[in-house]
C-alpha cells in the first residue's frame, strides 16, 4: 500500500494564534485522507503538521514591506527538503497581504496565510493551500489512469507526459515558402537565455536534450479559409488535429536515443496565406496564435509583417523575435508537463516563477506524480512478466534477468518506504531505478527465444509414432475389460 507523507510546518506569527487551539504550541497533528483509485487499490495521503510559533529571525523577515520580500527573506530559514511545505500564518489585519487576498504562495516551498479567526477556518484554508501546492486526489488518480475504471476520470486526466528517464526537445522552424521569406532565428542564443534555466531546474526530474532544425517546403496539411472581414486567413479549431500528421513525417524521429520527443514548431506562413490566425472554438482569434497537443508538443504561427509597399526583391528577410516565441513555447512546455495554474481559488495570489520557469512546489508536483506513476508502472510490468511466465512455460529466465527483477522489487519497496517517511527526493530516485531495472528485465531479448513454440508441431512429431502403437494397446485393453465383465457375470461357467 502506498502512503504519501507530506511534512508540513505551520508557523504562527505573533497576533495570529487562534484562540481555540487544543494544546499549547508547539504540537504535532496528523491528517490522513484516502484516495481510492479503483476497488482494490488506494493511495493514502498523510499530512504531518507541526504547529509552532515564529523565531526571532522569522519575525524580522515577516516585518518586510511586501509579501515577495518577506518570502525572499524567509527562504534561507526554511526547511527545503523536497515535498515539504511551510506555511506562515499572519494576523488577520496584517498589511503584508494585499486586500482581498488571503493566501500568498511563494516561489519556494512556503506560503503566507491570513489567520481566519478560529482553528477550523484556518485548517480549511490550510487544506486549500495543500491542494494547490502539493498533490490533489485527481492528480494522483491521473497518474494511475490505467487503473481507474473508465468514466471516472476527467477528460484532462490523460494529458500529461508519461514519466520517463529523459526527454528530447526539438525546436523546428517551418518555412513553406523560402522564395518569399528568408527566416533567421537566433535559436542558440534563445535556448541559452530562456530554455536552459528552466531545464536546469527540471534536471532533477529527467535528462533533457535540446535540438533545433529548419525545415523548408514543409506545409500544413490544411488549407486555411480566407476571412473577408479581417482580411486574413483563419485556421479553425476543428481543423487543428489534421495539421500535425503531414508535418510529422518531415520532422524526423530521433534515431540515436529512446527518449520521447517534444516538438515545438514555429510556422511562418506563405506569402499567399499571410496573415494566418488560429481560431478557437468560439471563433475569436487566439492571442498567442499557438496551440499544443498533449504528449506531442506545440505549434506557433508567426506572421510576418507585410510591408506597406510591395517589396523590390523577394525574398523578404525576417528576423524572428525569439523572446515572444520562447514565452509561448515555455508556457506550452509547462502545460505539457501538467503544471497549470488554472484551478486556483480567487483569493490566492501566486508568485511568478521568474526566469527559472517553475516554482519549487511545482517541481514537487511533478516529483509526486512521477514517483507514483513509476511505482505503478513497475508493479504492472513485473506482474505482467509473472503472468507471462505462468502462461508460457517454455521461457528460460537467465540469471541477469532474474537479478534485474530482484533489483526492481527491492527498489520499489525502498521507494514505498521512503515515501511513507516523507523523503520525496530519495523515493523518486529509487522509483527511477526500479523502472530501469524492470524495463531491462521485461524487454530482454533472450525472453523471446522460445516464446513461440507451437504445440501442434509437437503433436505432428509424436502422433505418427504413438498413434499406430496405441491402437493395438487400446484394442486389447478393451478386450480385457470385456472379458473381465463377462467373467464377473457368469463366474461359474468354468468346467
Amino acid at each position: 500500500q502506498v502512503r504519501l507523507v507530506v511534512p508540513m510546518a505551520v508557523v504562527f506569527s505573533p497576533g495570529s494564534v487562534p484562540r481555540d487551539l487544543p494544546r499549547p504550541l508547539p504540537f504535532r497533528d496528523v491528517q490522513e485522507m484516502e484516495i481510492s483509485v479503483n476497488l482494490r487499490t488506494s493511495v493514502t495521503s498523510h499530512y504531518e503538521m507541526r504547529y509552532r510559533s515564529t523565531t526571532g529571525q522569522e519575525e524580522a523577515a515577516l516585518a518586510a514591506a511586501t509579501a515577495r520580500e518577506a518570502d525572499a527573506a524567509l527562504h534561507p530559514l526554511q526547511d527545503t527538503t523536497m515535498g515539504s511545505l511551510t506555511m506562515y500564518v499572519v494576523p488577520e489585519t496584517s498589511s503584508l497581504l494585499p486586500q482581498g487576498i488571503n493566501v500568498y504562495v511563494g516561489k519556494h516551498r512556503s506560503a503566507l496565510v491570513r489567520a481566519g479567526g478560529s482553528l477550523a477556518a484556518l485548517q480549511a484554508r490550510l487544506r486549500e493551500v495543500t491542494q494547490v501546492m502539493s498533490f490533489t486526489a485527481s492528480s494522483i488518480a491521473a497518474t494511475l489512469s490505467d487503473r481507474v475504471p473508465n468514466g471516472q476520470l476527467s477528460p484532462d486526466a490523460r494529458r500529461n507526459l508519461k514519466s520517463s528517464l529523459g526527454y528530447e526537445i526539438t525546436f523546428s522552424l517551418l518555412n513553406p515558402d523560402p522564395k518569399s521569406h528568408t527566416v533567421d532565428w537566433d535559436i542558440e542564443g534563445a535556448v541559452n537565455r530562456y530554455v536552459k534555466p528552466v531545464l536546469d531546474k527540471l534536471s532533477l526530474l529527467a535528462n533533457f536534450s535540446v535540438d533545433s532544425q529548419i525545415l523548408y517546403y514543409a506545409v500544413l496539411g490544411v488549407t486555411p479559409r480566407y476571412d473577408k472581414e479581417s482580411s486574413s486567413f483563419l485556421l479553425s479549431a476543428h481543423s487543428l488535429p489534421h495539421v500535425i500528421n503531414p508535418v510529422e513525417a518531415r520532422l524526423g524521429s530521433s534515431a540515436a536515443s529512446l527518449y520521447p520527443v517534444l516538438n515545438f514548431l514555429l510556422y511562418v506562413p506563405e506569402r499567399s496565406h499571410s496573415p494566418l490566425y488560429i481560431q478557437d472554438k468560439d471563433g475569436a482569434p487566439v492571442s498567442t496564435n499557438a496551440f499544443h497537443s498533449p504528449r506531442w508538443g506545440g505549434i506557433m504561427v508567426y506572421n510576418v509583417e507585410a510591408p506597406a509597399s510591395p517589396p523590390a526583391s523577394l525574398p523578404l528577410h525576417v528576423d524572428v523575435d525569439m523572446a515572444r516565441v520562447m514565452e509561448v513555447f515555455l508556457a506550452q512546455l509547462r502545460l505539457l508537463f501538467g503544471l497549470s495554474r488554472e484551478e486556483v481559488p480567487p483569493e490566492f495570489l501566486l508568485e511568478r516563477p521568474g526566469n527559472e520557469g517553475l516554482a519549487d512546489w511545482e517541481l514537487d508536483h511533478l516529483l509526486w506524480a512521477h514517483t507514483v506513476e513509476n511505482i505503478a508502472t513497475v508493479s504492472t510490468t513485473l506482474t505482467s512478466l509473472a503472468q507471462l511466465l505462468d502462461k508460457i512455460g517454455n521461457i528460460v529466465i537467465k540469471d541477469d534477468v532474474a537479478s534485474e527483477v530482484y533489483r526492481a522489487v527491492a527498489s520499489v519497496q525502498s521507494a514505498v518506504t521512503k515515501l511513507s517517511l516523507g523523503h520525496l527526493h530519495a523515493a523518486f530516485q529509487a522509483s527511477k531505478e526500479a523502472v530501469t531495472s524492470s524495463e531491462r528485465a521485461f524487454f530482454d531479448p533472450s525472453l523471446l527465444h522460445l516464446l513461440y513454440f507451437p504445440d501442434d508441431q509437437k503433436f505432428a512429431i509424436y502422433i505418427p509414432l504413438f498413434l499406430p502403437m496405441a491402437v493395438p494397446i487400446l484394442l486389447s485393453l478393451a478386450k480385457i475389460v470385456r472379458e473381465t465383465r463377462l467373467r464377473k457375470k457368469e463366474p461359474t461357467k468354468m468346467d
Binding site: 523560402p178 522564395k179 535556448v191 535540446v210 523548408y216 524526423g252 502403437m469 493395438p472
Partner: protein
Amino acid sequence: VSHYRLFPKALGRLVAALGVRELHLALTQGFWRTRYWGQPPLQAPAGAELWVWFQPTVTDVDKAWKELSNILSGIFCASLNFIDSTNTVIPTASFKPLGLANGTDHHLLRYAVLPREVVCTENLTPWKKLLPCGSKAGLAVLLKAERLFHSSYHSQAVHIRPICRDASCLAMSWELRQTLTVVFDFFSSGQGKKDWSLFKMFSRTLTDTCPLASQSKVYVDISPKNKEKELLEVSPPPTSVHEAIVQGDKKTYAVYDLLSPSLFNTSRSLNVQLKWKRPQDSSEMPIPILHAQRYVGGYGLQTGEICTLIYNTHPYRAFPVILLETVPWYLRLYVHTLTIITKGKENKPSYIHYQPAQDRRRPHLLEMLIQLPANSVTKITIQFERALLKWTEYPPDPNHGFYVGSSVLSALVPSVTATKDMDVEQSPLFTSLFPSSDGSSYFVRLYTEPLLVNLPTPDFSMPYNVICLTCTVVAVCYGSFYNLLTRTFHVEEPSRGGLAKRLANVIRKFRGVPPL
C-alpha cells in the same frame, strides 16, 4: 545541444552520437558495363555498400558499427541490419579517409557489402528527404521514381566527411554529399537515335532553382571525338563552356548555371536537349586504362575457382593496384593455390594481407598490392571448396545461389594528358567529384562483378520423410510383436456365412453347381 539549418538533423545526430568521422553508403542496382559506357565517374558495387571511419575516441568500435548499421537501415529503409560480423571486414590499405584525417589507425575502419540488397522507390524517398529543398525545387525536381528506375543502372550514395572550412583550414565543417548515378540507355533500348532531352529522360523539365542553393549547375559533356567539331548541338545555348581534364582525358562541358537570371528569361522551363548532326553507327567508347572482370570457374558442387582478370591498357606506363577481396566463410579459400600470372610469368605481389575466415563469424579478407606492367592482362586465381551449411542457415530460395560481394580495385592511374590544378572555389562540386591530387595521375576505384555461387543444398523435406518412415517401421514392428504376444485363440462356430459366401452361392446357383 545541436542546431541544424541545411544539414539534415537525422544524420547530424547520428554522426555526433556514434562518433563517426566518415561515412559512405551506396545503394546500387545493376552493374556498370565498362565496355559500353566507358569509365564510370563514381562506381559502386551491386547491392549495398557501407564503409565508415570512426573517431579515435570511440572505444568499442564493433558496438558502434552495429548500432550505426541498424540506425541507417531505419533511416534509408534498406535492410542494412543484416550487416554483422559475418560480412564486415577491416581493410588495411584499400580505403583511406577521404576527408580531413589526423592519423589512420585501420582498426577504426569497417567495411561491409550486402550484394543481395535490392534498391527501389522506398530507398529513393528518404534519400530525397535529406535534401534541404526536398524534391520541390531545384535539380531534384527531375528525380521522379518511375523514370529513374526505368534505367539500366541506378546508384544512390550518401557521403559524409569532415573538410576544411576555408582555405586556411583553421576550422572544420561537415560535408554531406549525395550522388545519384543513373544510366538511361536509349540506343540499345530500341529508340535508335542517340538524341536525348531532359523531358524525354525524366518526363519533367527544370523550372526554378532551390532558393537555398548557392550554386546550381548542369554540366553536359560535349567533348568532340577524334577532334571533329560540330558533331553535336545542345539547345538552349549554355551559359558558359568549361574545359577540364577528367580521368585522363580532356573533356569539354556545356554549363547551364541555373542561378544566372538570363537562363529563365525566355522560357519558364529549361529543357536541355542534345542532337547529333550525323547519325552514329556504333557506340564506341574509349577503352579505359584500368578495367577488370571476375568469374567463377570449375564444375560440380564441391570445388571451384575464383578468377579475376585485370587489364592495363596504358601503352607504356606500369602502375600498382590494390585488390581487396571479401569472400564469405562458406567458400573455403585455399591460399596456397593463389596464383598471379601476367604475360605468362608469375607476378609476386609486394604486399599481401590475408585474414582467414572463421566459420559463422568472419569472412575471408585478401588484400594485395599488384604491379601491373604496361599493356598487359593479369590473371589472379584462387581455389575454394564449398561448405555444407546447417539446414536452418539456408535462405528461403537456396537454389538461387549465394552471392559473393564485388572485389575492390584501387589505383592511382597515370593519365595520358597532364591534369592542371583546378580552382576549388570556382567549381567546388566539380573538383570534389573529379579530384586531382597531382597532375600526372588520378585516383580510380573499380568494382568487379558480384558472383553467384551454388552451394550444395540438402533435401529440405527429409525431416518429414524420416519421421514418417521411422514411425511407420516402428509402429508396424511393434504392432506385430504385440499382436503375436497377446493373441488368444478360441474356437469359433461355423457362421452362416458372410456377404462374400452368399454372393458366391448366388453365382453357383446360376452355374448349377451345389452351394458351399
